[in-house]
């Protein structure tokens, strides 16, 4: 099974990278509201059961992939 983990700065946490992207887009003439920049982590998993895979990735996020104090995460699973 493959999974995509999206890690984002939590709402309210200062995101200077997002602010720089936002201001660059405006300079290019795009009308954008707020831009926030996060990370994408593509994973290949041995687990075949969706619930087990999700539970395992949640443990990965809590331990390593995200810092729960300042980041939130979202898990997307995809069967091959």
């Amino acid at each position: 099974m493959k999974a995509v983990v999206l890690v984002r700065p939590k709402a309210g946490i200062l995101d200077p990278q997002g602010e720089a992207v936002e201001s660059s887009l405006r300079h290019l003439g795009f009308e954008v509201g707020q831009a926030r920049v996060g990370k994408v982590i593509d994973l290949e998993l041995a687990a075949e059961d969706e619930a087990a895979a999700r539970a395992e990735i949640e443990r990965m996020c809590e331990q390593l992939l995200a810092n729960p104090l300042i980041e939130s995460y979202e898990i997307e699973l995809a069967r091959e």
Binding site: P9, L14, P16, Q17, A20, L64, L65, N67, L69, I70
Partner: protein, 228 residues
């Protein structure tokens, strides 16, 4: 009579940078510094531990996020849990926050620029084992050099744990409440973004960092007496 030398371990991770400077500074201030490689599962007999600056494990994912899982860090966590003195400088501070040994987190500088310059920090609490040689309110000039040093203040951090603050007009990174250094609730673990080991000799710009490290050496020496 010469005072006995406390033994202070300086952890060395792949990518550590300031381990030798920290060891040199501690030696100059009367300690015996021992370098401890990150793969060591046990610490030698030590009176304190320093986690130095640098870019441990390339600082991939988040600064300090991977270093916290090294075998030596498990030993440091056990050392801290028993009341052992632990000082984290810059990357060491980031590692201690990631490991949950200190409250809060360090984010990218608000400017997105790497900052490398002297800053003035104010000693908020002089009674910690890391600040005994300082006066409350004393201003210290110590260099910072980091790209991710903006302190994220957790909502319920007691003021007593905020030991160092940047002068508001000199906040180099957008840290919440101008925070430059914090301790844990028990005050045996301390982390700061400025580099005291780079400010132990006025010839090199400032000797103010020496006050913090000499405080640590004093406190470690008390532990040595307790250990003996």
């Amino acid at each position: 009579m010469k005072e006995p030398e406390p033994r202070i371990g300086v952890l060395v991770f792949p990518g550590s940078q300031d381990d030798r400077d920290a060891a040199w500074a501690l030696g100059a201030l009367g300690a015996e510094a021992v370098l401890v490689w990150h793969s060591e599962e046990e610490l030698p007999a030590l009176d304190a531990v320093v986690l130095p600056g640098g870019f441990s494990y390339g600082d991939y994912l988040r600064c300090g996020a991977i270093a916290r899982f090294s075998p030596a860090m498990r030993a440091v966590a056990a050392f801290a849990a028993e009341g052992g003195l632990v000082l984290g400088i810059c990357n060491g501070f980031q590692i201690l926050c990631e490991a949950g040994l200190l409250p809060g987190a360090l984010r990218a500088n608000a400017s997105l620029q790497f900052v490398c310059r002297d800053v003035t920090v104010v000693v908020e609490h002089a009674e910690t084992p890391f600040t005994t040689r300082c006066r409350p309110g004393q201003e210290l000039v110590i260099p910072v050099k980091h790209g991710e040093g903006a302190y994220h203040l957790p909502p319920d951090l007691p003021d007593e744990q905020v030991v160092l603050r940047y002068l508001p007009e000199e906040n180099p990174n957008g840290s919440d409440a101008n925070i430059a250094g914090v301790t844990n609730a028990e005050s045996n673990v301390f982390g700061l973004m400025p580099h005291p080991e780079h400010a132990v000799d006025p010839l090199l710009g400032s000797g103010d960092g020496g006050l913090l490290l000499a405080s640590l050496v004093d406190s470690a020496r008390e532990r040595l007496y307790a250990r003996a």
